[in-house]
Symmetry: C2
Subunit: 670 residues, 2 copies
């Protein structure tokens, strides 16, 4: 592996989070709310978002990854109900060979624990096109989930731009009692602070309670920081991290990174000894209550796995609990090993046999039901999962009833067929808290983790594209004059789901923008794709919208597919943050009314004119649009930074990055 190395002073006043940011700061001021840019050491992508990232690398005309480590995992789309999944896997493999990325084959494991085991390194930055990338914070990394183009840019050597978050110090005291584990710590955080409690914050865990949490326990806590809405979570790189890296035969990769008596923007604490088994009720990770409060509720399914409880310990605990017993006749007891190395260790320990014998359905290693790939429960029946999310319908069942809990609580329900506080098992089943005998060295098997090719070999590689994989379309520069009709006039709070729907019909085409475009706005106007396509090569079109346009999921497709169909500009009362950024990234002009009342003056079908855009935009944040149909002019403004104006005029960040004269030469100093 080609890790670089970088030492840190054993700083005692700056928080770990600030040390990580400062050591990677490329531009900006570390003041909460200010835009900063940080250097990207590592990236990870998974297959559901990675195909688009690889198409973006192709569009950028990248020669070779400029990061220290970039890894493409295949862990999401493993069911292969038709040829598209396998073709995506083959495409991703070829892209890794071409661009100098690591490739983690289908069946190797879930990205987050696998990355932690093989690539995680204290003091490094990691960005990933998966919202649970923040799990990397368990090793003293700054690990952030972002959009695909940010990852592609990072691979191409660009820094990550973000608003400096507040640092939220969370002091841990005491030690967890028996039957209570790391999952209950993050569930306690969600019980206290809800799903928006972490917005614009980095949660930094510190204090004496850390001494009793292994690195993998910390992974459980950092992973579900995403559910608090946090930018990321950070743990120090202390002795527990050293022990973890030693187990992985990577002690050389250890660098101590701690902060004693650091100043935090906000301070809070948890006494671990006071916690009890907790569970998130349907259908939000924030609906947390003590397990005892809902004990006795019947259960139809129990699932153990996912990046939220990925460690050997989590599976071994469940196996020890069911060893020599039988899961309830009425329960489907599903187990998804998180990596094949953990599966191998479980097998060596005898835990695999315990699970099989107790009636578990052992599934292939991967995310599986956590991202709705199979394991959908029957309507209206209760499914207990060690997963991070239980949003309505995410399981694949429209009328689902999914609960989130620890492996201890999940295994208890598998045995009894109802929600059960594991502390009550001694009475119910004469089951005492098991002591686990985990191996001191983890199984290490790198054979399904395919290393990058040497540069000269890589340059000869061709991308393998099955019938469903297209190249990204070209993104021509924004014209200097736009004269185009208003094809849609929309109301407030239009979500990215309404712009580019998810679901089983559309998702298989996520590697195929032209095909995926056929679904654009169809939830709002069935024939929008046809209407837009007809005038795509002549006038193009404009969309007018109300407040909060583009709320919801971060999917880039909601910017790319209308752009592909000829969308030049969206004129709205206001925009949701991430979609607004995605529009800029993909060269669509986002303009806001100075006078919201002007929204009412425009009708669908009106022709709007924007002129001398090249002069206009760089100058100030003001713009004008002329309604040729009504012969009226409206005052507008934009909020784009200089960097973003340049991107929009160029047709988006992809052509901008691709045409830099030094694109191939630039090296990041590591």
């Amino acid at each position: 592996m080609r890790f670089g190395d970088r030492g840190y002073p054993n700083c005692v006043n700056a928080s770990v989070a600030k040390q990580l940011i400062e050591s990677h700061l490329v531009s900006g001021e570390m003041k909460p709310g200010e835009e900063i840019a940080i250097r990207v050491d590592q990236t990870l992508t998974q297959d559901a978002t990675g195909t688009l990232v690889m198409q973006e690398l192709e569009a950028l005309d990248l020669d070779r990854a400029k990061t220290e480590v970039s890894v493409q995992y295949v862990d999401h789309n493993l069911l292969q109900a038709d040829e598209k999944n396998a073709e995506d896997h083959a495409f991703l493999r070829s892209a890794c060979r071409r661009y100098g990325l690591w490739f983690s084959k289908a069946g190797n494991g879930v990205s987050h624990p696998t990355h932690m085991k093989h690539f995680g390194k204290p003091g490094k930055t990691l960005i990933g096109s998966d919202s649970h990338t923040c799990a990397g914070g368990s090793l003293g990394m700054l690990a952030i989930g972002v959009g695909g183009l940010e990852v592609a840019s990072g691979i191409a050597g660009e820094p990550l731009y973000l608003r400096m978050p507040e640092i939220w110090g969370m002091r841990l005291e005491g030690e967890l009692p028996p039957w209570v584990s790391a999952k209950d710590v993050i569930l306690e955080m969600l019980r206290r602070h809800g799903v928006k409690g972490g917005l614009q914050r980095i949660i930094e865990y510190h204090g004496p309670g850390l001494a009793h949490l292994t690195a993998m326990d910390r992974h459980v806590i950092a992973n579900m920081g995403a559910e608090l809405g946090a930018t990321t979570s950070v743990f120090p790189a202390d002795d527990a991290v050293r022990v973890f890296l030693r187990e992985q035969d990577r002690e050389d990769d250890f660098t101590e990174l701690v902060a004693e008596d650091a100043d935090y923007d906000i301070s809070d604490e948890i006494d671990l000894a006071s916690l009890e088994p907790l569970i998130a009720k349907p259908s939000s990770p924030g609906n947390v209550v003590p397990v005892r409060e809902v004990a006795g509720t019947p259960v139809s399914q129990v699932v153990i796995g996912s990046s939220a409880n990925p460690g050997l310990r989590d599976f071994a605990m469940a196996a020890a609990m069911v060893s020599g017993r039988q899961s309830s006749d009425a329960v489907s007891f599903d187990v998804n090993p998180s990596s094949r190395e953990i599966f191998a260790d479980l097998t060596k320990m005898g835990a695999t046999l315990d699970l099989i014998s107790a009636g578990a359905r052992l599934h292939q290693t991967g995310c599986m039901g956590c991202i709705g790939m199979g394991q959908a429960p029957a309507s209206g029946t209760n499914s207990l999962r060690t997963f991070p999310r239980n949003f309505p319908g995410r399981s694949g069942t429209k009328e689902d009833s999914v609960w989130l809990c620890s492996p201890e609580t999940a295994a208890s329900a598998a045995l009894t067929g109802e929600i059960t506080d594991p502390r009550d098992l001694a009475d119910k089943l004469e089951l005492e808290y098991p002591s686990l005998d985990l191996p001191e060295r983890a199984t290490i098997n790198l054979d399904m983790l395919v290393a990058p090719l040497e540069p000269d070999e890589a340059q000869r590689e061709e991308l393998v594209k099955g019938p469903n994989i297209s190249a990204l379309p070209d993104f021509p520069p924004l014209p200097d004059r736009i004269e185009a009709p208003v094809l849609l006039k929309l109301g407030d709070d239009i979500s990215t789901d309404e712009i580019s729907p998810a679901g089983a019909r559309a998702l298989p085409f996520r590697s195929n923008i032209p095909k995926l475009s056929d679904f654009t706005f169809t939830q709002v106007r069935e024939n929008y794709p046809q209407q837009a396509a007809e005038i795509k090569d002549t006038t193009g079109h404009i969309v007018v919208a109300g407040d909060n346009y583009g709320q919801g999921s971060s999917r880039e497709h909601a910017a790319i597919t209308p752009r592909y169909l000829g969308l030049h500009a969206v004129v709205a009362k206001s925009f949701a943050r991430i979609h607004w950024q995605n529009l800029a990234n993909f060269g669509v002009l986002a303009l806001e009314f100075d006078e919201p009342g002007d929204y009412d003056r425009i009708d669908e079908g009106d022709t709007l004119v924007l002129d001398r855009l090249r002069d206009l935009l760089p100058g100030d944040r003001h713009a004008q649009i002329h309604n040729a149909t009504k012969d009226e002019t409206y005052e507008l403004h934009h909020r784009l930074s200089e960097r973003q104006v340049e991107a929009v005029l160029a047709g988006g960040r992809i052509p901008l990055l691709a045409r830099r004269p030094d694109a191939d030469q630039e090296k990041v100093d590591v």
Copy 2:
């Protein structure tokens, strides 16, 4: 378990097949081609066909299964992409509890090997709503795959009607050489005789070569007798069967059943020592060639599993071959354990660890890719599978390229990334033929095989029906006078796929006849369901067709769904055999033109009149239809037996069976 027992004379002249038939003969003469009826001892159903069987039991108003053993397996629809699979499983479990059936939970295993291990018994008859039910012939059973209503009737105590097949004696000489296994024997049969070679025949294996084939080897051979088109295959119950039952701790269930120097209708032989590794090329099980002829072909996927190679030995062989080695970087190496007991034995042996370490993706136990539930390969790439079928598109990939072979040949390709004769591994990889050390006693775990409830408890059970599970509709008697329009006039060779399509859109509704009806004939006439529904409760309708109406798959839905939409009669030049039987089973009158030229005189929309049907049909095979629109009369005939006439007049076999006064009292003498 409540097996009965029945001894057989150690008969030396009648074939095993004839002994089995004779001992179960209820009516008819054992002359090839004549209709016979045989008593049904055991049934098996799987979840993809079983939901309809259970709905049929409900429609029959059955109180309790009248067979010795009836088992419902859940092995097909395990992916659970939405709630329908889990709801089917819950429905099946409740139906087993209500009707006194065994229930094999999801994750327990594939029906055929699991049935063989726990219920298979020499001398018994078994029918199953799965075409590979014939695998049961490996234990000296008469095991036949049939339609769902035949199974439902069997569970209700009715005999099975079939045409007496010819008995095809297949003498086996010699012993298989290293690297050649049972799969190569059945591939040799397919190489010689093709996919129609077994039509209207029972293949009976005998001779000295049997001494070297275990019962599970014979399962492999009997299973794929389905691909020869045979009614079934039969092996004697000899010492190998005794050994198998002893391994399963069921030696008491052994009854010797052999035939020495029996007379066969046709005789043939295979010298096992002369066989070499064989492979069926895409896309028919009959395209068999020696592996060496196609060696070097690149491979993208290897899958080991399914009822065609379900034994511990098959997986252990693959594991031994890959032990300490790594599967090719370019290959997805998938393994589907066929039952959790075999998975447990593989784990105890160390084979599970060998497979995981070599890069295998271990999937949940079940049929998986064999019935197109996942594991679809990339378009145009070669997938080697130990499965029984490789019809085009069955893998889930439209442009697929699937090959069928032994575990030895499959594992060779997993290692080398190309089709490889395992005999060449010594040179290529220094890999010698492994000797396997299999346990003398199999793991036995009955905990996921749920026994029938006691009758009084069963009667209190309610069927659990999720939103997607309907009751079977009512089937009213055929009216005495039909005056109805011709809603469709069709050409020749209309297949059941055109009548009731398969595929991902329609199949999830197989438990829901009203919903599934919305797909009826839509490949031919998109608005047929609406048109038919409009006149369903007034006139109903008639379909006119050319030759070979209803060819293809045996699915009952192609009779039930048009019937549900008001189809009274099909008037055709001729009918395909199975669909013709299904029409009679579900109360639709199948009439053929005396003068095929009359077909041309009828137009769509004509009103046809059939009068005094109750007098007409029982009398002779002659009928008349009056075209009221054209004022013409055509001469017709039917080919229904007296039994079938009674069924059609009653509205099908379900109401007929349901209304028998003694339906609940009748007991089969066992």
